[in-house]
């Protein structure tokens, strides 16, 4: 039994290796890119449009709305990053219905990579919005004493993002694997269905938390992020 798809090695050449995580991620990337390309190839600008275009519009507008509710007033600026986070984590979870597939988000390497991206993106957007001085100033507020705590908070929340997603996805896969050995019928199906739900919830949490962090970094003031961060 593998704890992570990292252990599924297809090819190795020194430091470089092609493991399950990377291959499945490429699969997801290809699926999303080709799907998006196919649907957006002939988009209608009139009142009548295809079902797939409708679906994509609902997804895109839904993400924009969520970003806006978090407190980011210009959702189109952040949808590239936040939307892709949600779509990637969500798709990785949904594809677990395919036998033989292992979600790349079940690998700590992937979640750590995503968390690192967030760790870099938050100061990037913060500095872009209020300048490097203004952003750095937020670390010594309300007093300078808070500086170490702010830094710890920054690091720990990144770590928490990575561990939370990894733990959830890995545990889901593990539970199914264990259940398969104990009760090979019915229960694994139920747990897979539950896993789909958990995966979507995790995708939502991951992207919302990232949005909250960005909102905090750019100095947006809103009460809802507190509520969102507690979930």
């Amino acid at each position: 039994m593998r704890l992570s798809p990292d252990e599924l090695i297809f090819w190795r050449g020194g430091f470089f290796k092609l493991n399950g995580t990377i291959v499945f991620t490429w699969g997801i990337m290809v699926l999303l890119a080709i799907g998006a390309k196919l649907i957006s190839r002939k988009l209608s600008t009139g009142p009548k449009r295809s079902r797939w275009q409708n679906l994509l519009e609902i997804v895109v507008l839904g993400i924009e709305k969520q970003i806006e509710e978090v407190g980011l007033s210009r959702p189109r600026k952040y949808i590239g990053f936040l939307g892709t986070l949600f779509l990637f984590v969500g798709t990785a979870s949904l594809l677990t219905v395919i036998p033989g597939y292992e979600p790349p988000t079940g690998s700590l390497s992937t979640t750590a990579a995503l968390a690192l991206c967030v760790f870099v993106a938050v100061p990037y957007f913060g500095i872009e919005d209020q300048g490097i001085r203004g952003y750095l100033k937020s670390y010594i507020e309300p007093t300078v004493i808070m500086l170490p705590f702010n830094i710890i908070s920054e690091v720990s929340r990144t770590l928490a993002l990575a561990i939370r997603l990894f733990g959830n996805m890995m545990s889901g896969a593990m539970i199914i694997a264990i259940l398969l050995t104990i009760t090979p019928f019915v229960f694994p199906v139920l747990m897979t269905a539950l896993g789909l739900l958990t995966g979507m919830v995790q995708a939502y949490i991951f992207s919302i938390l990232t949005a909250v962090y960005i909102a905090a970094a750019i100095g947006a003031r809103k009460s809802s992020p507190e509520k969102a961060s507690k979930s």
């Binding site: 990292d6 991620t25 990337m29 988009l43 600008t45 009139g46 895109v60 189109r76 390497s109 990579a113």
Partner: protein, 272 residues
């Protein structure tokens, strides 16, 4: 070790590539489509609003024109009614005049008819009277009417008042032209001689006479000289007869004169 740092780096790179791919193929086209549609809908709404405003304006304009039209129609109707009324009165007046004219012409026609009838009766009467008289006299006394007329004329001359006789005598004597004896019929030489003799005898002077025929004397005889005239004829009798006949005709024609338009029948005056 759960974390493989090569995989972390590769996944981070993969994720960034995915972000670019999604931006390129998903978000931008979708957002563009949504924006275009929103713009189009906004344009359509604005266009509809403009059209609605225009329609409202046109509706008001139409209503105004409709009201104007109704007013004009009412005014025209009133004018037309007045004109029709005037025309009707004019036509009625014309018809009345025409009827009056027809009535007058008919009256005239009737009058003319009556006159013609009178004249023809009068003529016929003369002829008849003379014919009867002539015939009667001839049967009774074997004398001609003319002879009797001449005899009566001579008697009249003889029986004239002295003043009249004197005046006539004077006229005869002083006349520059010859005295004229006019009679309805051509007188025979004997009759002419008789008249000549009688006049010569009555006025005791030789008077030259010229004999003429004048059919309008109606079986009478007339002596005229220098503006003086002695006449005997049956014209007076005929006049009184004519008067009687005219009265009789009037009585007959009056009931026959019915108003024009009610009857087309005309009095049947027969020409004899």
């Amino acid at each position: 070790m759960l974390i493989d740092w090569f995989t972390v780096g590769a996944q981070a790179l993969n994720f960034l590539i995915l972000v670019w791919l999604m931006k390129r193929f998903l978000y931008k086209p979708i957002q563009l489509a949504i924006d275009t549609r929103e713009k189009r809908i906004a344009g359509q709404i604005a266009d509809a609003e403009t059209k609605r405003t225009e329609a409202q304006k046109e509706r008001e304009e139409f209503q105004r024109k409709n009201e104007d039209f109704s007013q004009q129609r009412a005014a025209l109707l009133i004018t037309a009614t007045r004109e029709v009324q005037t025309e009707r009165e004019r036509l009625l007046a014309e018809a009345r005049q025409a009827a009056d004219a027809v009535s007058a012409s008919r009256q005239q026609f009737l009058t003319n008819e009556a006159l013609n009838l009178n004249q023809s009766i009068s003529r016929r009467t003369q002829q008849e009277v003379f014919a009867i008289s002539r015939k009667t006299l001839k049967d009774l006394a074997s004398t001609s009417l003319e002879a009797c007329v001449i005899e009566v004329f001579v008697q009249r001359l003889r029986g004239m008042e002295a003043a009249g006789k004197e005046s006539l005598s004077q006229a005869l004597k002083t006349a520059t032209e010859t005295a004229v004896v006019r009679s309805a019929l051509e007188l025979s030489d004997e009759q002419r001689a008789a008249i000549q003799n009688a006049i010569n005898e009555i006025f005791r002077v030789e008077i030259r006479l010229r004999f003429e025929t004048a059919p309008n004397l109606i079986s009478g005889i007339e002596l005229s000289a220098n503006g003086q005239k002695v006449v005997w004829s049956i014209a007076d009798y005929l006049a009184s007869l004519e008067k009687g006949v005219a009265e009789m005709l009037n009585i007959q024609t009056k009931p026959a004169a019915v108003p024009v338009g009610e009857s087309e029948s005309f009095p049947t005056a027969t020409h004899s």
